[in-house]
Protein backbone atom coordinates (compact mmCIF):
# COMPACT_ATOMS: atom_id res chain seq x y z
CA UNK A 1 0.00 0.00 0.00
CA UNK A 2 1.20 3.46 -0.79
CA UNK A 3 2.30 5.61 2.12
CA UNK A 4 -0.42 8.23 1.56
CA UNK A 5 -3.08 5.56 1.60
CA UNK A 6 -1.78 3.87 4.72
CA UNK A 7 -3.73 3.91 7.99
CA UNK A 8 -0.74 5.55 9.66
CA UNK A 9 -0.75 8.47 7.25
CA UNK A 10 -4.53 8.91 7.44
CA UNK A 11 -4.36 8.88 11.22
CA UNK A 12 -1.64 11.54 11.31
CA UNK A 13 -3.44 13.66 8.73
CA UNK A 14 -6.72 13.39 10.61
CA UNK A 15 -5.16 14.18 13.99
CA UNK A 16 -3.13 17.12 12.67
CA UNK A 17 -5.99 18.80 10.84
CA UNK A 18 -8.42 18.09 13.70
CA UNK A 19 -6.07 19.55 16.29
CA UNK A 20 -5.45 22.64 14.20
CA UNK A 21 -9.17 23.30 13.68
CA UNK A 22 -9.87 22.44 17.32
CA UNK A 23 -7.39 25.07 18.52
CA UNK A 24 -9.01 27.67 16.27
CA UNK A 25 -12.50 26.88 17.57
CA UNK A 26 -11.59 26.21 21.18
CA UNK A 27 -9.44 29.28 21.87
CA UNK A 28 -12.24 31.87 21.63
CA UNK A 29 -14.68 29.41 23.18
CA UNK A 30 -12.42 28.68 26.16
CA UNK A 31 -11.68 32.39 26.61
CA UNK A 32 -15.37 33.18 26.70
CA UNK A 33 -16.03 30.30 29.12
CA UNK A 34 -13.20 31.47 31.37
CA UNK A 35 -14.56 35.04 31.62
CA UNK A 36 -18.33 34.54 31.44
CA UNK A 37 -20.31 34.19 34.66
CA UNK A 38 -23.80 33.78 33.20
CA UNK A 39 -26.10 30.77 33.24
CA UNK A 40 -25.51 30.07 29.58
CA UNK A 41 -21.95 29.10 30.44
CA UNK A 42 -23.10 25.95 32.24
CA UNK A 43 -25.12 24.90 29.20
CA UNK A 44 -22.18 25.31 26.84
CA UNK A 45 -19.82 23.55 29.25
CA UNK A 46 -22.17 20.58 29.47
CA UNK A 47 -22.57 20.34 25.71
CA UNK A 48 -18.81 20.42 25.23
CA UNK A 49 -18.41 17.69 27.86
CA UNK A 50 -21.04 15.30 26.43
CA UNK A 51 -18.56 13.35 24.25
CA UNK A 52 -16.59 12.59 27.44
CA UNK A 53 -19.35 10.37 28.77
CA UNK A 54 -21.30 9.32 25.68
CA UNK A 55 -20.37 6.08 23.89
CA UNK A 56 -18.61 7.19 20.70
CA UNK A 57 -20.97 4.99 18.74
CA UNK A 58 -23.93 7.16 19.80
CA UNK A 59 -22.17 10.30 18.60
CA UNK A 60 -21.14 8.51 15.40
CA UNK A 61 -24.65 7.26 14.85
CA UNK A 62 -26.23 10.72 15.06
CA UNK A 63 -23.52 12.24 12.92
CA UNK A 64 -24.06 9.54 10.34
CA UNK A 65 -27.75 10.30 10.24
CA UNK A 66 -27.14 14.05 10.08
CA UNK A 67 -24.58 13.75 7.29
CA UNK A 68 -26.45 11.18 5.23
CA UNK A 69 -27.86 12.44 1.89
CA UNK A 70 -31.25 12.98 3.53
CA UNK A 71 -29.92 14.23 6.88
CA UNK A 72 -30.30 17.78 8.13
CA UNK A 73 -26.66 18.52 7.30
CA UNK A 74 -26.31 16.09 4.44
CA UNK A 75 -29.27 17.36 2.41
CA UNK A 76 -28.14 21.00 2.21
CA UNK A 77 -24.58 19.87 1.46
CA UNK A 78 -25.93 17.67 -1.30
CA UNK A 79 -27.96 20.57 -2.66
CA UNK A 80 -24.87 22.78 -2.66
CA UNK A 81 -23.09 20.19 -4.72
CA UNK A 82 -20.60 19.31 -1.98
CA UNK A 83 -22.23 15.95 -1.50
CA UNK A 84 -22.95 13.92 1.53
CA UNK A 85 -19.99 13.68 3.86
CA UNK A 86 -20.90 10.30 5.30
CA UNK A 87 -18.07 7.79 4.81
CA UNK A 88 -15.63 10.48 3.69
CA UNK A 89 -12.50 11.88 5.26
CA UNK A 90 -14.24 15.24 5.77
CA UNK A 91 -17.10 13.55 7.58
CA UNK A 92 -14.62 11.73 9.77
CA UNK A 93 -12.90 15.05 10.44
CA UNK A 94 -16.14 16.65 11.62
CA UNK A 95 -16.75 13.68 13.91
CA UNK A 96 -13.25 13.88 15.35
CA UNK A 97 -13.55 17.57 16.06
CA UNK A 98 -16.77 17.15 17.99
CA UNK A 99 -15.46 14.08 19.75
CA UNK A 100 -12.22 15.73 20.93
CA UNK A 101 -13.54 19.24 21.61
CA UNK A 102 -13.62 18.84 25.39
CA UNK A 103 -9.99 17.69 25.45
CA UNK A 104 -8.89 20.96 23.90
CA UNK A 105 -11.39 23.35 25.48
CA UNK A 106 -10.88 22.18 29.08
CA UNK A 107 -7.12 22.68 29.41
CA UNK A 108 -7.38 26.02 27.61
CA UNK A 109 -10.23 27.13 29.84
CA UNK A 110 -8.35 26.13 33.00
CA UNK A 111 -5.31 27.98 31.79
CA UNK A 112 -7.26 31.11 30.89
CA UNK A 113 -9.07 31.05 34.22
CA UNK A 114 -5.75 31.33 36.02
CA UNK A 115 -4.91 34.51 34.09
CA UNK A 116 -5.39 37.28 36.63
CA UNK A 117 -8.12 39.81 35.85
CA UNK A 118 -6.01 42.39 37.60
CA UNK A 119 -3.22 42.01 35.04
CA UNK A 120 -5.76 42.50 32.26
CA UNK A 121 -7.01 45.65 33.98
CA UNK A 122 -3.46 46.93 34.25
CA UNK A 123 -3.01 46.24 30.54
CA UNK A 124 -6.19 48.18 29.80
CA UNK A 125 -4.88 51.19 31.73
CA UNK A 126 -1.73 50.95 29.59
CA UNK A 127 -3.73 51.29 26.40
CA UNK A 128 -4.32 47.70 25.33
CA UNK A 129 -7.63 46.93 23.60
CA UNK A 130 -9.49 43.72 24.57
CA UNK A 131 -7.98 41.81 21.62
CA UNK A 132 -4.55 43.28 22.32
CA UNK A 133 -4.84 42.21 25.99
CA UNK A 134 -5.79 38.71 24.92
CA UNK A 135 -2.78 38.27 22.64
CA UNK A 136 -0.22 40.20 24.70
CA UNK A 137 -1.18 38.95 28.19
CA UNK A 138 -3.58 36.00 28.22
CA UNK A 139 -1.99 33.92 25.44
CA UNK A 140 1.65 34.15 26.61
CA UNK A 141 0.58 33.34 30.17
CA UNK A 142 -1.36 30.31 28.90
CA UNK A 143 1.36 28.63 26.83
CA UNK A 144 1.34 25.48 29.03
CA UNK A 145 -2.43 25.28 28.49
CA UNK A 146 -1.98 25.50 24.73
CA UNK A 147 0.69 22.77 24.77
CA UNK A 148 -1.49 20.50 26.90
CA UNK A 149 -4.54 21.17 24.73
CA UNK A 150 -2.58 20.40 21.56
CA UNK A 151 -1.13 17.17 22.93
CA UNK A 152 -4.43 15.92 24.36
CA UNK A 153 -6.42 16.88 21.27
CA UNK A 154 -3.94 15.09 19.01
CA UNK A 155 -3.70 11.99 21.18
CA UNK A 156 -7.43 11.73 21.62
CA UNK A 157 -8.06 11.96 17.89
CA UNK A 158 -5.48 9.27 17.24
CA UNK A 159 -7.19 7.07 19.81
CA UNK A 160 -10.76 7.29 18.58
CA UNK A 161 -12.45 4.19 17.21
CA UNK A 162 -16.22 4.24 17.60
CA UNK A 163 -16.81 7.54 15.84
CA UNK A 164 -14.38 6.65 13.08
CA UNK A 165 -16.10 3.37 12.44
CA UNK A 166 -19.61 4.80 12.42
CA UNK A 167 -19.07 7.93 10.37
CA UNK A 168 -16.02 6.99 8.36
CA UNK A 169 -16.75 3.40 7.66
CA UNK A 170 -13.71 1.34 6.86
CA UNK A 171 -12.62 2.69 3.52
CA UNK A 172 -8.92 2.02 2.75
CA UNK A 173 -7.00 5.15 1.90
CA UNK A 174 -9.88 7.42 2.90
CA UNK A 175 -11.14 6.75 6.39
CA UNK A 176 -9.29 3.68 7.57
CA UNK A 177 -7.32 4.94 10.54
CA UNK A 178 -4.90 3.00 12.77
CA UNK A 179 -7.44 1.99 15.39
CA UNK A 180 -9.71 0.50 12.71
CA UNK A 181 -6.79 -1.14 10.96
CA UNK A 182 -5.89 -2.89 14.22
CA UNK A 183 -9.48 -4.12 14.49
CA UNK A 184 -9.29 -5.44 10.91
CA UNK A 185 -5.98 -7.16 11.56
CA UNK A 186 -7.31 -8.88 14.65
CA UNK A 187 -10.42 -9.97 12.77
CA UNK A 188 -8.11 -11.45 10.15
CA UNK A 189 -6.03 -13.11 12.89
CA UNK A 190 -2.96 -11.20 11.76
CA UNK A 191 -1.65 -10.76 15.29
CA UNK A 192 1.91 -9.84 14.35
CA UNK A 193 0.81 -6.75 12.46
CA UNK A 194 -1.76 -5.93 15.12
CA UNK A 195 0.97 -6.06 17.73
CA UNK A 196 3.14 -3.80 15.67
CA UNK A 197 0.47 -1.09 15.34
CA UNK A 198 -0.83 -1.49 18.89
CA UNK A 199 2.58 -1.22 20.49
CA UNK A 200 3.28 1.82 18.34
CA UNK A 201 0.12 3.53 19.54
CA UNK A 202 0.88 2.61 23.16
CA UNK A 203 4.33 4.14 23.02
CA UNK A 204 3.08 7.20 21.18
CA UNK A 205 0.27 7.78 23.70
CA UNK A 206 2.61 7.33 26.63
CA UNK A 207 5.07 9.84 25.23
CA UNK A 208 2.39 12.45 24.63
CA UNK A 209 0.85 12.05 28.08
CA UNK A 210 4.30 12.12 29.63
CA UNK A 211 4.92 15.40 27.81
CA UNK A 212 1.65 16.79 29.16
CA UNK A 213 2.63 15.80 32.69
CA UNK A 214 5.99 17.47 32.30
CA UNK A 215 4.38 20.68 31.06
CA UNK A 216 1.97 20.68 33.99
CA UNK A 217 4.67 19.81 36.47
CA UNK A 218 6.84 22.69 35.32
CA UNK A 219 4.03 25.20 35.52
CA UNK A 220 2.03 23.69 38.37
CA UNK A 221 2.81 26.54 40.72
CA UNK A 222 0.99 29.10 38.63
CA UNK A 223 -1.12 27.05 36.29
CA UNK A 224 -3.00 24.17 37.90
CA UNK A 225 -4.73 21.99 35.34
Amino acid sequence: MELFQSPLWITIKLATISTFILLLISTPMAWWLSRDKGKFKAVVESVVAIPLVLPPTVLGFYLLIALSPNGFLGAPLEALGIGSLAFTFEGLLIGSIIYSLAFVVRPLQNSFESVNDELLEAAATLGASPLDRFFSIAVPLSIPGFLTATALGFAHTVGEFGVALMIGGNIPGETRVMSIEIFNLVEALNYDQAHFYSAGLMIFSFLLLFLVSMINFNSSSKNPL
Partner: protein, 370 residues
Amino acid sequence: MNVLPSNGETPEGLYAQFTHMRGTFSIEATLEAPQSGVTALFGPSGCGKTTFLRLLCGVDRAKVGKVCVNGMWWQNRSFFLQTWKRPVGVVFQDSRLFPHLTVKNNLEYGAKRSFASKRTNGYRVNYDHTVSWLGLERLLDRFPNGLSGGEKQRVALGRAILRNPSLLLLDEPMASLDESSKIEIIPYLEELRSELSIPILYISHDIYEIHRIADRVALMEKGSLLTSGDIKTILTSLELPISRGSHAGAVINADVVEHDKEFNLSILEFEGGKISVARGGMTIGKNVKLRINASDVALALDKPRNTSVLNVFGVKVTGIVEINESQVIVKLDAHGVAMLSKITKKSLDALSIKRGDKCYAMVKSVALMA
Protein backbone atom coordinates in the same frame (compact mmCIF):
# COMPACT_ATOMS: atom_id res chain seq x y z
CA MET B 1 -19.28 74.07 46.06
CA ASN B 2 -18.20 72.13 43.01
CA VAL B 3 -20.20 73.35 40.08
CA LEU B 4 -19.54 72.16 36.58
CA PRO B 5 -18.93 75.10 34.27
CA SER B 6 -22.09 75.63 32.27
CA ASN B 7 -22.72 74.65 28.67
CA GLY B 8 -19.88 74.26 26.28
CA GLU B 9 -17.05 75.03 28.66
CA THR B 10 -14.73 72.26 29.70
CA PRO B 11 -13.12 72.36 33.12
CA GLU B 12 -9.38 72.73 33.51
CA GLY B 13 -7.31 70.09 35.29
CA LEU B 14 -9.30 67.17 36.59
CA TYR B 15 -13.02 67.23 37.08
CA ALA B 16 -14.83 64.06 38.14
CA GLN B 17 -18.31 63.47 39.43
CA PHE B 18 -19.91 60.10 40.14
CA THR B 19 -23.12 58.64 41.46
CA HIS B 20 -22.59 54.94 41.67
CA MET B 21 -23.96 51.93 43.53
CA ARG B 22 -21.88 48.89 44.22
CA GLY B 23 -23.95 46.35 46.09
CA THR B 24 -25.21 48.21 49.13
CA PHE B 25 -22.34 50.70 49.00
CA SER B 26 -22.94 53.96 47.23
CA ILE B 27 -20.52 56.55 45.96
CA GLU B 28 -21.61 60.14 45.59
CA ALA B 29 -18.61 62.30 44.98
CA THR B 30 -17.26 65.23 43.03
CA LEU B 31 -13.57 65.95 42.80
CA GLU B 32 -11.65 68.75 41.20
CA ALA B 33 -7.88 68.97 40.96
CA PRO B 34 -5.60 71.54 39.38
CA GLN B 35 -3.68 71.02 36.15
CA SER B 36 -0.62 69.91 38.03
CA GLY B 37 0.35 68.88 41.52
CA VAL B 38 -0.46 65.96 43.78
CA THR B 39 -3.92 65.69 45.27
CA ALA B 40 -4.28 63.08 47.99
CA LEU B 41 -7.53 61.18 48.30
CA PHE B 42 -7.60 60.47 51.99
CA GLY B 43 -10.01 58.43 54.05
CA PRO B 44 -10.33 55.32 56.18
CA SER B 45 -10.22 51.85 54.60
CA GLY B 46 -13.48 50.99 52.92
CA CYS B 47 -14.58 54.59 52.36
CA GLY B 48 -14.63 54.12 48.60
CA LYS B 49 -11.26 55.56 47.58
CA THR B 50 -10.30 52.62 45.39
CA THR B 51 -13.77 52.43 43.87
CA PHE B 52 -13.45 56.13 43.04
CA LEU B 53 -10.14 55.45 41.30
CA ARG B 54 -11.63 52.54 39.37
CA LEU B 55 -14.48 54.75 38.17
CA LEU B 56 -12.01 57.45 37.25
CA CYS B 57 -9.90 55.24 34.98
CA GLY B 58 -12.99 53.49 33.61
CA VAL B 59 -12.20 49.97 34.80
CA ASP B 60 -15.58 50.16 36.51
CA ARG B 61 -18.31 52.13 34.91
CA ALA B 62 -20.39 54.57 36.92
CA LYS B 63 -23.99 54.71 35.78
CA VAL B 64 -24.03 58.44 36.30
CA GLY B 65 -20.73 60.17 35.97
CA LYS B 66 -18.71 62.93 34.38
CA VAL B 67 -14.96 62.92 33.93
CA CYS B 68 -12.95 65.60 32.20
CA VAL B 69 -9.17 65.73 32.18
CA ASN B 70 -7.35 68.79 30.86
CA GLY B 71 -10.20 69.65 28.56
CA MET B 72 -10.81 66.14 27.23
CA TRP B 73 -14.05 64.42 28.20
CA TRP B 74 -13.65 60.81 29.29
CA GLN B 75 -17.22 60.35 30.41
CA ASN B 76 -20.40 62.36 30.45
CA ARG B 77 -24.09 61.74 30.12
CA SER B 78 -23.96 60.29 26.64
CA PHE B 79 -20.37 59.23 26.30
CA PHE B 80 -18.02 56.73 27.89
CA LEU B 81 -14.42 56.37 26.79
CA GLN B 82 -13.07 52.84 27.31
CA THR B 83 -10.18 52.55 29.78
CA TRP B 84 -7.69 51.61 27.08
CA LYS B 85 -8.50 54.74 25.13
CA ARG B 86 -7.96 57.03 28.12
CA PRO B 87 -4.56 58.69 28.52
CA VAL B 88 -4.34 57.56 32.13
CA GLY B 89 -1.47 56.09 34.12
CA VAL B 90 -2.31 53.86 37.08
CA VAL B 91 0.03 52.52 39.75
CA PHE B 92 -1.69 49.77 41.71
CA GLN B 93 -1.00 48.73 45.28
CA ASP B 94 0.12 45.29 44.08
CA SER B 95 2.22 46.67 41.16
CA ARG B 96 0.64 44.26 38.65
CA LEU B 97 3.73 43.85 36.52
CA PHE B 98 3.41 41.34 33.69
CA PRO B 99 5.28 38.22 34.84
CA HIS B 100 6.10 36.99 31.32
CA LEU B 101 7.81 40.24 30.32
CA THR B 102 11.17 41.65 31.38
CA VAL B 103 11.29 44.98 33.19
CA LYS B 104 12.24 46.62 29.89
CA ASN B 105 9.26 45.09 28.09
CA ASN B 106 6.97 45.99 30.98
CA LEU B 107 8.09 49.61 30.67
CA GLU B 108 7.66 49.54 26.92
CA TYR B 109 4.21 47.95 27.12
CA GLY B 110 2.59 51.27 27.91
CA ALA B 111 5.11 53.34 25.99
CA LYS B 112 4.34 51.51 22.74
CA ARG B 113 0.67 52.21 23.22
CA SER B 114 1.13 55.78 24.43
CA PHE B 115 -0.69 58.79 23.15
CA ALA B 116 0.54 61.35 20.71
CA SER B 117 1.63 64.60 22.31
CA LYS B 118 -1.29 66.60 20.93
CA ARG B 119 -3.66 64.70 23.20
CA THR B 120 -1.62 65.36 26.30
CA ASN B 121 -1.10 69.11 26.04
CA GLY B 122 2.33 68.77 24.52
CA TYR B 123 3.70 66.95 27.50
CA ARG B 124 6.11 64.20 26.52
CA VAL B 125 8.03 61.79 28.65
CA ASN B 126 11.53 60.79 27.90
CA TYR B 127 12.24 57.08 28.18
CA ASP B 128 15.91 57.38 29.11
CA HIS B 129 15.25 60.13 31.61
CA THR B 130 12.49 58.16 33.33
CA VAL B 131 14.60 55.00 33.49
CA SER B 132 17.54 56.82 35.02
CA TRP B 133 15.39 58.96 37.34
CA LEU B 134 13.85 55.81 38.81
CA GLY B 135 17.18 53.97 38.80
CA LEU B 136 15.94 51.14 36.63
CA GLU B 137 18.96 50.66 34.35
CA ARG B 138 20.25 47.65 36.26
CA LEU B 139 16.85 45.97 36.33
CA LEU B 140 15.93 46.19 32.65
CA ASP B 141 16.73 42.58 31.73
CA ARG B 142 15.21 41.04 34.83
CA PHE B 143 11.79 39.51 35.29
CA PRO B 144 9.32 40.93 37.86
CA ASN B 145 9.33 37.77 40.00
CA GLY B 146 12.92 38.38 41.05
CA LEU B 147 12.40 41.98 42.13
CA SER B 148 11.91 43.35 45.64
CA GLY B 149 8.67 45.11 46.57
CA GLY B 150 10.25 48.54 46.24
CA GLU B 151 11.81 47.71 42.87
CA LYS B 152 8.48 46.41 41.58
CA GLN B 153 6.75 49.66 42.52
CA ARG B 154 9.48 51.72 40.86
CA VAL B 155 8.97 49.73 37.67
CA ALA B 156 5.19 50.10 37.98
CA LEU B 157 5.61 53.85 38.42
CA GLY B 158 7.89 54.04 35.38
CA ARG B 159 5.50 51.96 33.32
CA ALA B 160 2.59 54.26 34.17
CA ILE B 161 4.60 57.42 33.45
CA LEU B 162 5.93 56.12 30.14
CA ARG B 163 2.36 55.68 29.01
CA ASN B 164 2.53 59.47 28.69
CA PRO B 165 -0.68 60.02 30.61
CA SER B 166 -2.58 63.24 31.18
CA LEU B 167 -3.70 61.96 34.60
CA LEU B 168 -1.69 59.79 36.97
CA LEU B 169 -3.46 57.71 39.60
CA LEU B 170 -1.66 56.00 42.47
CA ASP B 171 -3.63 53.55 44.59
CA GLU B 172 -1.83 53.19 47.93
CA PRO B 173 1.47 52.38 46.20
CA MET B 174 3.25 51.86 49.52
CA ALA B 175 0.57 49.97 51.43
CA SER B 176 2.02 46.53 50.78
CA LEU B 177 5.67 47.52 51.22
CA ASP B 178 7.86 46.95 54.25
CA GLU B 179 9.49 49.90 56.00
CA SER B 180 12.80 49.77 54.12
CA SER B 181 11.02 49.59 50.76
CA LYS B 182 8.87 52.57 51.74
CA ILE B 183 11.96 54.58 52.51
CA GLU B 184 13.36 53.54 49.13
CA ILE B 185 10.29 54.62 47.13
CA ILE B 186 9.14 57.74 48.96
CA PRO B 187 11.71 60.16 47.46
CA TYR B 188 10.43 59.31 43.97
CA LEU B 189 6.86 59.97 45.01
CA GLU B 190 7.93 63.29 46.52
CA GLU B 191 9.59 64.25 43.25
CA LEU B 192 6.53 63.37 41.18
CA ARG B 193 5.05 66.84 41.35
CA SER B 194 8.18 68.39 39.91
CA GLU B 195 8.72 65.59 37.37
CA LEU B 196 5.24 65.65 35.89
CA SER B 197 3.06 68.60 35.04
CA ILE B 198 -0.20 66.69 35.06
CA PRO B 199 -2.84 66.17 37.76
CA ILE B 200 -1.77 63.38 40.08
CA LEU B 201 -4.20 61.65 42.41
CA TYR B 202 -2.63 59.81 45.32
CA ILE B 203 -4.83 57.47 47.32
CA SER B 204 -3.81 56.72 50.87
CA HIS B 205 -5.11 56.18 54.37
CA ASP B 206 -1.73 57.13 55.86
CA ILE B 207 -1.63 60.78 56.89
CA TYR B 208 2.18 60.87 57.09
CA GLU B 209 2.53 59.70 53.50
CA ILE B 210 0.11 62.39 52.44
CA HIS B 211 2.05 65.08 54.29
CA ARG B 212 5.15 64.19 52.39
CA ILE B 213 3.74 63.64 48.94
CA ALA B 214 0.66 65.77 48.45
CA ASP B 215 -0.05 69.47 47.92
CA ARG B 216 -3.77 69.13 48.22
CA VAL B 217 -6.07 66.77 50.09
CA ALA B 218 -9.57 65.51 49.31
CA LEU B 219 -11.26 63.88 52.28
CA MET B 220 -13.49 60.93 51.67
CA GLU B 221 -15.86 59.25 54.08
CA LYS B 222 -18.50 56.54 53.50
CA GLY B 223 -18.55 57.06 49.76
CA SER B 224 -18.79 60.84 49.81
CA LEU B 225 -16.21 63.46 49.22
CA LEU B 226 -16.37 65.79 52.23
CA THR B 227 -14.08 68.55 51.09
CA SER B 228 -10.88 69.24 49.27
CA GLY B 229 -8.29 71.95 49.36
CA ASP B 230 -4.74 72.92 50.17
CA ILE B 231 -3.12 70.41 52.52
CA LYS B 232 -2.20 73.05 55.14
CA THR B 233 -5.73 74.39 55.27
CA ILE B 234 -7.43 71.01 55.40
CA LEU B 235 -5.16 69.54 58.06
CA THR B 236 -5.75 72.42 60.43
CA SER B 237 -9.44 72.91 59.74
CA LEU B 238 -11.21 72.48 63.06
CA GLU B 239 -14.50 71.58 61.37
CA LEU B 240 -12.98 68.38 60.00
CA PRO B 241 -12.42 65.21 62.00
CA ILE B 242 -8.84 65.04 60.73
CA SER B 243 -7.83 67.92 63.05
CA ARG B 244 -9.24 66.08 66.05
CA GLY B 245 -7.70 62.66 65.46
CA SER B 246 -4.63 61.24 67.11
CA HIS B 247 -2.49 62.34 64.14
CA ALA B 248 -3.62 65.96 64.31
CA GLY B 249 -0.90 68.38 63.31
CA ALA B 250 0.16 71.04 60.85
CA VAL B 251 2.50 71.11 57.88
CA ILE B 252 4.56 74.21 57.20
CA ASN B 253 7.10 75.18 54.60
CA ALA B 254 10.33 76.81 55.67
CA ASP B 255 13.62 77.91 54.07
CA VAL B 256 17.01 76.89 55.37
CA VAL B 257 18.71 80.20 56.23
CA GLU B 258 21.75 79.46 58.34
CA HIS B 259 23.72 76.90 60.30
CA ASP B 260 24.58 76.82 63.94
CA LYS B 261 27.92 75.07 63.67
CA GLU B 262 28.59 75.05 67.38
CA PHE B 263 25.52 72.97 68.20
CA ASN B 264 25.06 71.34 64.79
CA LEU B 265 21.65 72.85 64.14
CA SER B 266 20.04 74.14 61.00
CA ILE B 267 18.05 77.33 61.29
CA LEU B 268 14.93 77.52 59.15
CA GLU B 269 12.73 80.50 58.56
CA PHE B 270 9.01 80.68 57.89
CA GLU B 271 6.45 83.47 58.11
CA GLY B 272 6.00 82.97 61.85
CA GLY B 273 9.66 83.07 62.79
CA LYS B 274 12.76 80.92 62.95
CA ILE B 275 12.93 77.23 63.75
CA SER B 276 15.98 75.29 64.85
CA VAL B 277 16.14 71.68 63.81
CA ALA B 278 18.60 69.17 65.14
CA ARG B 279 20.28 68.39 61.89
CA GLY B 280 23.22 70.29 60.56
CA GLY B 281 24.53 70.68 57.05
CA MET B 282 21.29 71.30 55.20
CA THR B 283 21.64 73.26 51.99
CA ILE B 284 21.11 76.96 52.60
CA GLY B 285 18.18 78.29 50.60
CA LYS B 286 16.47 74.95 50.34
CA ASN B 287 12.74 74.92 50.96
CA VAL B 288 11.68 72.10 53.27
CA LYS B 289 8.44 70.74 54.58
CA LEU B 290 8.00 70.35 58.32
CA ARG B 291 5.38 68.59 60.30
CA ILE B 292 4.40 69.84 63.73
CA ASN B 293 2.24 67.48 65.75
CA ALA B 294 -0.50 69.08 67.81
CA SER B 295 0.68 67.11 70.83
CA ASP B 296 4.16 68.67 70.51
CA VAL B 297 2.92 72.23 70.86
CA ALA B 298 2.52 73.74 74.33
CA LEU B 299 1.09 77.16 75.09
CA ALA B 300 2.21 79.97 77.40
CA LEU B 301 0.74 83.38 78.10
CA ASP B 302 4.09 85.07 78.65
CA LYS B 303 7.20 84.65 76.60
CA PRO B 304 8.87 81.70 78.28
CA ARG B 305 12.40 82.07 79.57
CA ASN B 306 14.59 79.40 81.04
CA THR B 307 13.10 76.59 78.99
CA SER B 308 14.67 73.77 77.03
CA VAL B 309 12.31 74.46 74.13
CA LEU B 310 14.16 76.32 71.37
CA ASN B 311 11.27 77.08 69.10
CA VAL B 312 8.87 79.64 70.51
CA PHE B 313 6.52 81.73 68.38
CA GLY B 314 4.10 84.50 69.09
CA VAL B 315 0.67 83.32 67.91
CA LYS B 316 -2.98 84.26 67.92
CA VAL B 317 -5.72 81.83 68.94
CA THR B 318 -8.15 81.37 66.07
CA GLY B 319 -10.27 78.53 67.34
CA ILE B 320 -10.76 75.98 70.06
CA VAL B 321 -12.46 72.61 69.72
CA GLU B 322 -13.09 69.89 72.25
CA ILE B 323 -11.83 66.47 71.20
CA ASN B 324 -12.72 64.42 74.28
CA GLU B 325 -13.69 64.86 77.89
CA SER B 326 -10.25 66.04 78.95
CA GLN B 327 -8.56 67.56 75.90
CA VAL B 328 -9.01 70.35 73.39
CA ILE B 329 -7.35 71.35 70.14
CA VAL B 330 -6.38 74.99 69.88
CA LYS B 331 -5.86 76.40 66.43
CA LEU B 332 -3.14 79.03 66.22
CA ASP B 333 -2.09 81.58 63.68
CA ALA B 334 1.59 82.42 63.44
CA HIS B 335 1.71 85.34 61.01
CA GLY B 336 -0.58 83.59 58.56
CA VAL B 337 0.64 80.07 59.17
CA ALA B 338 -1.80 77.70 60.88
CA MET B 339 -0.71 75.39 63.68
CA LEU B 340 -2.53 73.12 66.10
CA SER B 341 -1.92 72.55 69.79
CA LYS B 342 -3.38 69.75 71.83
CA ILE B 343 -3.74 70.68 75.50
CA THR B 344 -5.85 69.56 78.43
CA LYS B 345 -9.05 71.30 79.41
CA LYS B 346 -7.42 71.95 82.72
CA SER B 347 -4.58 73.89 81.05
CA LEU B 348 -7.07 75.76 78.91
CA ASP B 349 -8.91 76.76 82.07
CA ALA B 350 -5.71 77.79 83.84
CA LEU B 351 -4.58 79.95 80.89
CA SER B 352 -8.14 81.12 80.31
CA ILE B 353 -7.45 81.77 76.66
CA LYS B 354 -10.18 82.28 74.11
CA ARG B 355 -10.50 83.03 70.48
CA GLY B 356 -8.59 86.15 69.44
CA ASP B 357 -6.15 86.04 72.37
CA LYS B 358 -2.43 86.29 71.84
CA CYS B 359 -0.05 83.79 73.41
CA TYR B 360 3.18 81.89 72.81
CA ALA B 361 3.47 78.48 71.17
CA MET B 362 6.35 76.29 72.35
CA VAL B 363 7.19 73.65 69.76
CA LYS B 364 8.92 70.69 71.37
CA SER B 365 9.77 68.87 68.17
CA VAL B 366 9.40 69.19 64.44
CA ALA B 367 9.62 66.41 61.87
CA LEU B 368 11.51 67.13 58.70
CA MET B 369 9.58 65.72 55.74
CA ALA B 370 11.74 66.38 52.72
